[in-house]
Point group: C2
Chain length 131, copies 2
DNA sequence: ACAGAGTTGACAACCGTTCTCAACTAGCCT
DNA sequence: AGGCTAGTTGAGAACGGTTGTCAACTCTGT
Protein backbone atom coordinates (compact mmCIF):
# COMPACT_ATOMS: atom_id res chain seq x y z
CA UNK A 1 0.00 0.00 0.00
CA UNK A 2 1.48 3.29 -1.08
CA UNK A 3 0.81 6.67 0.44
CA UNK A 4 -1.14 7.81 -2.61
CA UNK A 5 -3.47 5.75 -4.73
CA UNK A 6 -1.50 3.64 -7.17
CA UNK A 7 -1.71 4.84 -10.74
CA UNK A 8 -3.10 8.27 -10.05
CA UNK A 9 -1.28 10.90 -12.03
CA UNK A 10 -0.94 14.55 -11.20
CA UNK A 11 -1.71 15.75 -14.68
CA UNK A 12 -1.90 19.32 -15.87
CA UNK A 13 -5.69 19.09 -15.92
CA UNK A 14 -6.04 17.78 -12.40
CA UNK A 15 -3.69 20.41 -11.10
CA UNK A 16 -5.62 23.08 -12.94
CA UNK A 17 -8.91 21.97 -11.41
CA UNK A 18 -7.35 21.79 -7.97
CA UNK A 19 -5.92 25.29 -8.42
CA UNK A 20 -9.27 26.60 -9.57
CA UNK A 21 -10.95 25.13 -6.51
CA UNK A 22 -8.55 27.01 -4.25
CA UNK A 23 -9.27 30.27 -6.02
CA UNK A 24 -12.74 30.87 -4.63
CA UNK A 25 -14.55 30.42 -1.36
CA UNK A 26 -18.13 29.85 -2.40
CA UNK A 27 -19.95 27.07 -4.15
CA UNK A 28 -19.68 26.80 -7.93
CA UNK A 29 -21.18 24.45 -10.45
CA UNK A 30 -19.01 22.14 -12.54
CA UNK A 31 -19.82 24.20 -15.60
CA UNK A 32 -18.77 27.41 -13.87
CA UNK A 33 -15.44 25.81 -13.06
CA UNK A 34 -15.09 24.57 -16.60
CA UNK A 35 -15.63 28.11 -17.92
CA UNK A 36 -13.37 29.64 -15.33
CA UNK A 37 -10.56 27.34 -16.46
CA UNK A 38 -11.15 28.18 -20.09
CA UNK A 39 -11.00 31.92 -19.42
CA UNK A 40 -7.86 31.42 -17.45
CA UNK A 41 -6.10 29.81 -20.38
CA UNK A 42 -6.08 26.30 -18.91
CA UNK A 43 -8.90 24.75 -20.88
CA UNK A 44 -9.98 21.40 -19.48
CA UNK A 45 -12.66 19.21 -21.01
CA UNK A 46 -16.02 19.32 -19.31
CA UNK A 47 -16.02 15.56 -18.80
CA UNK A 48 -12.64 15.80 -17.15
CA UNK A 49 -13.85 18.54 -14.84
CA UNK A 50 -16.73 16.32 -13.74
CA UNK A 51 -14.46 13.31 -13.31
CA UNK A 52 -11.92 15.26 -11.32
CA UNK A 53 -14.49 16.88 -9.06
CA UNK A 54 -16.05 13.49 -8.43
CA UNK A 55 -12.68 12.13 -7.37
CA UNK A 56 -12.05 15.10 -5.10
CA UNK A 57 -15.43 14.61 -3.48
CA UNK A 58 -14.69 10.92 -2.94
CA UNK A 59 -11.33 11.87 -1.47
CA UNK A 60 -13.04 14.32 0.85
CA UNK A 61 -11.16 17.30 -0.56
CA UNK A 62 -14.27 18.97 -1.89
CA UNK A 63 -17.83 19.42 -0.61
CA UNK A 64 -20.77 18.62 -2.85
CA UNK A 65 -24.09 20.38 -2.36
CA UNK A 66 -27.30 20.48 -4.38
CA UNK A 67 -29.10 23.67 -5.24
CA UNK A 68 -32.86 23.72 -4.88
CA UNK A 69 -33.25 22.72 -8.49
CA UNK A 70 -30.96 19.73 -8.16
CA UNK A 71 -27.78 21.11 -9.68
CA UNK A 72 -24.51 19.98 -8.14
CA UNK A 73 -22.28 22.69 -6.72
CA UNK A 74 -18.77 22.22 -5.39
CA UNK A 75 -16.50 23.97 -2.98
CA UNK A 76 -13.15 23.41 -1.40
CA UNK A 77 -13.71 21.66 1.86
CA UNK A 78 -12.67 23.47 4.95
CA UNK A 79 -11.32 21.19 7.61
CA UNK A 80 -14.20 21.60 10.02
CA UNK A 81 -17.69 20.31 9.46
CA UNK A 82 -20.11 23.20 9.22
CA UNK A 83 -23.34 24.40 7.69
CA UNK A 84 -24.42 27.37 5.68
CA UNK A 85 -26.71 30.27 6.33
CA UNK A 86 -27.73 31.48 2.91
CA UNK A 87 -29.60 34.64 1.96
CA UNK A 88 -32.40 33.60 -0.34
CA UNK A 89 -32.34 36.95 -2.13
CA UNK A 90 -28.69 37.79 -2.72
CA UNK A 91 -27.03 34.45 -1.98
CA UNK A 92 -24.67 35.78 0.70
CA UNK A 93 -23.35 32.85 2.69
CA UNK A 94 -22.26 32.59 6.30
CA UNK A 95 -20.60 29.47 7.64
CA UNK A 96 -21.99 28.30 10.93
CA UNK A 97 -20.95 25.49 13.23
CA UNK A 98 -23.35 23.55 15.32
CA UNK A 99 -21.90 20.99 17.69
CA UNK A 100 -25.36 20.74 19.22
CA UNK A 101 -26.84 19.67 15.91
CA UNK A 102 -24.10 17.13 15.33
CA UNK A 103 -24.81 15.57 18.69
CA UNK A 104 -28.54 15.70 18.21
CA UNK A 105 -28.53 13.97 14.83
CA UNK A 106 -26.29 11.20 16.09
CA UNK A 107 -28.49 10.71 19.13
CA UNK A 108 -31.74 10.64 17.15
CA UNK A 109 -30.30 8.21 14.62
CA UNK A 110 -29.01 5.99 17.40
CA UNK A 111 -32.44 5.94 19.04
CA UNK A 112 -33.87 4.44 15.88
CA UNK A 113 -31.02 2.01 15.43
CA UNK A 114 -29.47 3.84 12.49
CA UNK A 115 -25.71 3.82 12.19
CA UNK A 116 -23.07 5.40 10.02
CA UNK A 117 -24.82 8.74 10.24
CA UNK A 118 -24.39 11.81 8.10
CA UNK A 119 -26.64 14.78 7.58
CA UNK A 120 -27.28 17.85 5.52
CA UNK A 121 -28.47 21.09 7.03
CA UNK A 122 -28.86 24.39 5.26
CA UNK A 123 -30.47 27.49 6.70
CA UNK A 124 -32.19 29.99 4.46
CA UNK A 125 -33.18 33.51 5.41
CA UNK A 126 -33.09 37.12 4.38
CA UNK A 127 -29.81 38.87 5.16
CA UNK A 128 -29.64 42.28 6.84
CA UNK A 129 -29.02 44.21 3.63
CA UNK A 130 -31.92 42.56 1.79
CA UNK A 131 -34.61 43.19 4.40
CA UNK B 1 -61.48 36.62 -2.26
CA UNK B 2 -62.87 33.13 -2.47
CA UNK B 3 -62.00 30.25 -0.23
CA UNK B 4 -60.14 28.46 -3.02
CA UNK B 5 -57.95 29.91 -5.73
CA UNK B 6 -60.06 31.35 -8.51
CA UNK B 7 -60.01 29.30 -11.67
CA UNK B 8 -58.53 26.16 -10.21
CA UNK B 9 -60.45 23.12 -11.27
CA UNK B 10 -60.70 19.83 -9.43
CA UNK B 11 -60.21 17.72 -12.51
CA UNK B 12 -60.11 13.96 -12.68
CA UNK B 13 -56.35 14.10 -13.08
CA UNK B 14 -55.73 16.33 -10.08
CA UNK B 15 -57.95 14.20 -7.91
CA UNK B 16 -56.14 11.09 -9.11
CA UNK B 17 -52.75 12.53 -8.21
CA UNK B 18 -54.03 13.69 -4.83
CA UNK B 19 -55.45 10.23 -4.18
CA UNK B 20 -52.19 8.60 -5.18
CA UNK B 21 -50.29 10.84 -2.79
CA UNK B 22 -52.48 9.70 0.09
CA UNK B 23 -51.88 6.07 -0.76
CA UNK B 24 -48.29 5.84 0.44
CA UNK B 25 -46.23 7.15 3.30
CA UNK B 26 -42.75 7.37 1.86
CA UNK B 27 -41.10 9.52 -0.75
CA UNK B 28 -41.69 8.75 -4.42
CA UNK B 29 -40.41 10.27 -7.60
CA UNK B 30 -42.76 11.93 -10.07
CA UNK B 31 -42.18 9.10 -12.49
CA UNK B 32 -43.05 6.51 -9.85
CA UNK B 33 -46.32 8.31 -9.25
CA UNK B 34 -46.98 8.51 -12.95
CA UNK B 35 -46.51 4.74 -13.27
CA UNK B 36 -48.55 4.04 -10.18
CA UNK B 37 -51.46 5.96 -11.67
CA UNK B 38 -51.16 4.12 -14.96
CA UNK B 39 -51.24 0.72 -13.26
CA UNK B 40 -54.22 1.82 -11.25
CA UNK B 41 -56.22 2.55 -14.36
CA UNK B 42 -56.15 6.34 -13.95
CA UNK B 43 -53.51 7.22 -16.49
CA UNK B 44 -52.34 10.83 -16.17
CA UNK B 45 -49.81 12.45 -18.47
CA UNK B 46 -46.32 12.80 -17.08
CA UNK B 47 -46.34 16.54 -17.65
CA UNK B 48 -49.57 16.81 -15.70
CA UNK B 49 -48.12 14.80 -12.84
CA UNK B 50 -45.20 17.21 -12.66
CA UNK B 51 -47.46 20.24 -12.89
CA UNK B 52 -49.81 18.96 -10.24
CA UNK B 53 -47.04 18.01 -7.84
CA UNK B 54 -45.48 21.43 -8.31
CA UNK B 55 -48.77 23.05 -7.39
CA UNK B 56 -49.18 20.86 -4.35
CA UNK B 57 -45.68 21.74 -3.21
CA UNK B 58 -46.43 25.43 -3.66
CA UNK B 59 -49.65 24.99 -1.72
CA UNK B 60 -47.74 23.25 1.06
CA UNK B 61 -49.69 20.03 0.68
CA UNK B 62 -46.68 18.01 -0.37
CA UNK B 63 -43.02 17.89 0.70
CA UNK B 64 -40.29 18.00 -1.91
CA UNK B 65 -36.91 16.43 -1.23
CA UNK B 66 -33.88 15.75 -3.39
CA UNK B 67 -32.12 12.41 -3.45
CA UNK B 68 -28.35 12.44 -3.38
CA UNK B 69 -28.25 12.36 -7.15
CA UNK B 70 -30.54 15.34 -7.52
CA UNK B 71 -33.81 13.62 -8.33
CA UNK B 72 -36.95 15.17 -6.89
CA UNK B 73 -39.04 12.99 -4.59
CA UNK B 74 -42.44 13.85 -3.16
CA UNK B 75 -44.49 12.89 -0.18
CA UNK B 76 -47.70 13.91 1.47
CA UNK B 77 -46.94 16.51 4.07
CA UNK B 78 -47.92 15.88 7.62
CA UNK B 79 -49.13 18.92 9.50
CA UNK B 80 -46.17 19.29 11.82
CA UNK B 81 -42.78 20.48 10.76
CA UNK B 82 -40.34 17.63 10.98
CA UNK B 83 -37.25 16.10 9.45
CA UNK B 84 -36.40 12.74 8.00
CA UNK B 85 -34.03 10.02 8.97
CA UNK B 86 -33.48 8.10 5.77
CA UNK B 87 -31.73 4.77 5.25
CA UNK B 88 -29.26 5.25 2.45
CA UNK B 89 -29.53 1.60 1.43
CA UNK B 90 -33.23 0.74 1.48
CA UNK B 91 -34.79 4.19 1.74
CA UNK B 92 -36.76 3.47 4.91
CA UNK B 93 -37.83 6.78 6.43
CA UNK B 94 -38.46 7.81 10.00
CA UNK B 95 -39.96 11.19 10.82
CA UNK B 96 -38.20 13.01 13.59
CA UNK B 97 -38.98 16.26 15.32
CA UNK B 98 -36.36 18.56 16.66
CA UNK B 99 -37.53 21.56 18.60
CA UNK B 100 -33.91 22.06 19.59
CA UNK B 101 -32.88 22.39 15.99
CA UNK B 102 -35.70 24.80 15.23
CA UNK B 103 -34.60 27.00 18.08
CA UNK B 104 -30.95 26.73 17.18
CA UNK B 105 -31.41 27.72 13.54
CA UNK B 106 -33.51 30.72 14.47
CA UNK B 107 -30.96 31.80 17.04
CA UNK B 108 -28.00 31.43 14.70
CA UNK B 109 -29.78 33.27 11.92
CA UNK B 110 -30.75 36.04 14.31
CA UNK B 111 -27.15 36.41 15.46
CA UNK B 112 -26.16 37.19 11.90
CA UNK B 113 -29.08 39.50 11.32
CA UNK B 114 -30.96 37.11 9.06
CA UNK B 115 -34.73 37.06 9.25
CA UNK B 116 -37.59 35.07 7.79
CA UNK B 117 -35.74 31.86 8.49
CA UNK B 118 -36.37 28.43 7.09
CA UNK B 119 -34.13 25.40 6.90
CA UNK B 120 -33.68 21.96 5.48
CA UNK B 121 -32.26 19.11 7.50
CA UNK B 122 -32.06 15.53 6.44
CA UNK B 123 -30.28 12.76 8.27
CA UNK B 124 -28.86 9.80 6.41
CA UNK B 125 -27.76 6.54 7.94
CA UNK B 126 -27.97 2.79 7.70
CA UNK B 127 -31.10 1.31 9.22
CA UNK B 128 -31.07 -1.67 11.60
CA UNK B 129 -32.08 -4.20 8.96
CA UNK B 130 -29.45 -3.06 6.48
CA UNK B 131 -26.46 -3.23 8.80
C1' DA C 1 13.05 4.20 -26.50
C1' DC C 2 9.26 1.06 -25.39
C1' DA C 3 5.34 -0.81 -23.31
C1' DG C 4 1.26 -0.42 -21.00
C1' DA C 5 -1.74 1.49 -17.73
C1' DG C 6 -3.90 5.73 -16.89
C1' DT C 7 -6.00 9.99 -18.79
C1' DT C 8 -8.10 13.14 -21.89
C1' DG C 9 -11.69 15.44 -24.77
C1' DA C 10 -15.12 15.75 -28.43
C1' DC C 11 -19.29 14.05 -28.85
C1' DA C 12 -23.17 11.12 -28.20
C1' DA C 13 -26.26 9.26 -25.04
C1' DC C 14 -29.04 9.63 -20.92
C1' DC C 15 -32.48 11.02 -17.85
C1' DG C 16 -35.28 13.95 -15.22
C1' DT C 17 -37.80 17.94 -15.98
C1' DT C 18 -40.03 21.70 -18.52
C1' DC C 19 -42.04 23.68 -22.68
C1' DT C 20 -45.24 23.83 -26.63
C1' DC C 21 -49.50 23.86 -28.59
C1' DA C 22 -53.61 21.98 -30.52
C1' DA C 23 -57.43 19.48 -28.64
C1' DC C 24 -60.38 19.20 -24.83
C1' DT C 25 -63.18 20.47 -20.37
C1' DA C 26 -65.45 22.46 -16.58
C1' DG C 27 -67.96 26.19 -15.08
C1' DC C 28 -70.66 30.26 -16.11
C1' DC C 29 -73.81 33.24 -18.56
C1' DT C 30 -77.89 33.75 -21.19
C1' DA D 1 -79.68 23.50 -23.40
C1' DG D 2 -76.15 25.88 -26.04
C1' DG D 3 -72.24 28.52 -26.28
C1' DC D 4 -68.35 31.11 -24.58
C1' DT D 5 -64.00 31.24 -22.42
C1' DA D 6 -60.43 30.54 -19.34
C1' DG D 7 -58.25 26.72 -17.57
C1' DT D 8 -56.32 22.04 -18.38
C1' DT D 9 -54.44 18.11 -20.64
C1' DG D 10 -51.09 15.03 -23.07
C1' DA D 11 -47.87 13.64 -26.76
C1' DG D 12 -43.83 14.80 -28.06
C1' DA D 13 -40.06 17.98 -28.59
C1' DA D 14 -36.76 20.58 -26.26
C1' DC D 15 -33.66 21.43 -22.55
C1' DG D 16 -29.82 21.18 -19.29
C1' DG D 17 -26.93 18.82 -16.30
C1' DT D 18 -24.36 14.72 -16.07
C1' DT D 19 -22.26 10.41 -17.57
C1' DG D 20 -20.61 7.14 -21.06
C1' DT D 21 -17.73 6.06 -25.26
C1' DC D 22 -13.55 5.44 -27.46
C1' DA D 23 -9.60 6.63 -30.16
C1' DA D 24 -5.71 9.52 -29.38
C1' DC D 25 -2.51 10.88 -26.06
C1' DT D 26 0.80 11.06 -21.89
C1' DC D 27 3.04 9.68 -17.92
C1' DT D 28 6.16 6.39 -15.49
C1' DG D 29 8.90 2.49 -14.85
C1' DT D 30 11.94 -0.64 -17.24
Amino acid sequence: MTSTEPGLRPTKQRLAVAAAMSSFEDFRSAQDIHELLAHRGDPVGLATVYRTLQRMVDAGEVDLLRTEDGEAIYRRCSDTHHHHLVCRDCGATVEVEGPAVERWTRAIAGEHGYGDVSHTLEIFGTCPSCR
